[in-house]
Point group: C2
Chain length 314, copies 2
């Protein structure tokens, strides 16, 4: 593979090159470090918007509508669907992909699901690197959507410039969201499926919760949407844009990128250390010896690990 050509075509916005570059990074294939190093100069244009919330909140439909909205504003949009690799969500994922077919044939749209794990120090890090490639390929907006259930809901907040939390009025999700820490990572809340009723009450409850100090920042925009019928979507897009603009002015936008970057660098560093550690010559034997000594009860697993760390880091 000619890496220089791949990078040139990627930055020129060629879809085939993008798909290939993502696959190189996702599977940490030879050259992936150089690829990431090279594209880095072309970054900074795309805004990364996380979309999170419980299963059944209508995130995929909302994302699809948001994509159409951005498209009609002349922007190129990418969607990254993050799946926490459950062996059993294959079906659901496929469903999402099919639903998104209405936008999938548009040249200004790119949809990718991320189901791999382990490479590059975890799904969060890999997703961030893939967002870099999309950024370099000239997309204006990258929507990072959580698909499954799990850690990814919280992780998405750590890689986005702003995060939309999607809730449905009736399901008690508001209370769950308050308990779970999701409110803390939300920058904007969309109360979706408003046709079911109860949206106003949920908004009231959320505002009360904020007043009571259940979240460190008090005022965040709460929007009522009905994604299936496209209701509230232009307002949601405007709210996201307005938020970014005001944050840029206050410096909060840059501050968040800085914090996210620290987090990301630490994760990659941990990945590198792990990789070097266990692939070093003799490491396997040392691990085996430690396990042996634990199984014969000379030390606890914790003590064995402590001794191992001392030895491998020497």
């Amino acid at each position: 593979m000619n890496l220089d050509l791949l990078i040139a075509e990627l930055v020129a916005g060629k879809t085939a090159a993008l798909a290939r570059a993502i696959s190189v990074v996702e599977n940490t294939r030879p050259g992936f470090e150089r690829l990431l190093g090279e594209v880095h100069r072309s970054l900074g244009r795309a805004r990364r918007i996380g979309v999170t919330g419980p299963p059944g909140a209508g995130k995929s439909t909302l994302v699809e509508r948001l994509v159409a909205q951005y498209r009609s504003a002349g922007l190129k949009v990418a969607v990254v669907a993050v799946d926490p690799t459950s062996p059993f969500t294959g079906g659901a994922l496929l469903g999402d992909r099919i639903r998104m077919e209405s936008i999938a044939l548009d040249q200004g749209v790119y949809i990718r699901s991320m189901a791999s794990r382990g490479s590059l120090g975890g799904l969060a890090t890999t997703t961030r690197e893939v967002c870099d490639l999309l950024d370099a390929a000239g997309f204006d907006r990258i929507l990072v959507e959580t698909v499954g259930v799990g850690q990814s809901e919280l992780d998405v907040g750590r890689m986005a410039d702003s995060t939309v939390l999607v809730l449905v009025p009736e399901s008690g999700d508001g209370i769950q969201a308050m308990k779970s820490g999701l409110l803390e990572i939300a920058d904007i809340i969309a109360i979706n499926k408003a046709d079911r009723g109860g949206a106003d009450r949920m908004e009231h409850d959320l505002r009360t919760a904020f007043e009571l100090g259940l979240r460190s920042r008090k005022e965040i925009p709460i929007l009522i949407t009905e994604a299936v019928r496209g209701k509230g979507i232009p307002e949601l897009m405007a709210a996201v844009d307005a938020l970014v603009a005001s944050r840029r002015a206050s410096g909060a936008f840059q501050e968040r990128r800085r914090r996210n970057m620290e987090d990301r660098i630490k994760e990659i560093a941990e990945f590198l250390i792990r990789r070097n550690l266990w692939s070093a010559s003799g490491a396997e034997g040392k691990v085996a010896a430690a396990a042996e000594s634990v199984l014969s009860r000379r030390q606890s697993p914790y003590q064995g690990a402590q001794a191992l760390v001392k030895e491998v880091l020497r």
Copy 2:
């Protein structure tokens, strides 16, 4: 807290001490290293049995019935319900706990759900350490059950002596299980909810898949169960026991414990390194400097992380 007293009471099988010890380990509170180091001498009695499978397969009911079966054989049984910390599974978990009330008041039974993460290098490692405490407290069988959806389904295979995969006949779970790698970690398959029909066909399909080489080991026991009515449960218990006996004879049991232990020690070692790395004096400033240099595009995140690793490991 008097740690010596706690350990003595734990090993004597006192429930209050057990609960307290688990909480110390789960939250890595002061003394947790010593606690784990001390109990290690009292281990080895309990068999650890993983129970995994898709949501809705009836795992909790099956576990409840298995517990009753072991109790009637005079054995003490603990159940560890592993939840991959979704912010939105609170309800489901609670449901499981209520359902298990029929066995929860029995003194020879202990039920604990694990929803924490991060401590001790991840849920898998923490679960293993909690199993050690249960082992030390004198339980004969520990059933480790996955509750949510996610990585935990595969992880459970890495901490158990044997793993039961629970499927339901009609849902296409067989095919999903084949695709996902779950068949590979299963030692015994229970086709549950057999009253729905299709169980025989599913068994046939699974056996065909094995014949075709879709799994490295060809022959594994497949049992038909109907947990709600207690059908097939004595046979399942017998199959687990027989498997352990034959594996003990062949050495496969010990070999698996050895492999699991290597895995576990590596995870704890990674946790220790991570902890030391970022809490060292000056580490924060180094991370901030690396982030700064990436954000000003002097290097890529990957290069920043590489430089950071060199510096912090020096």
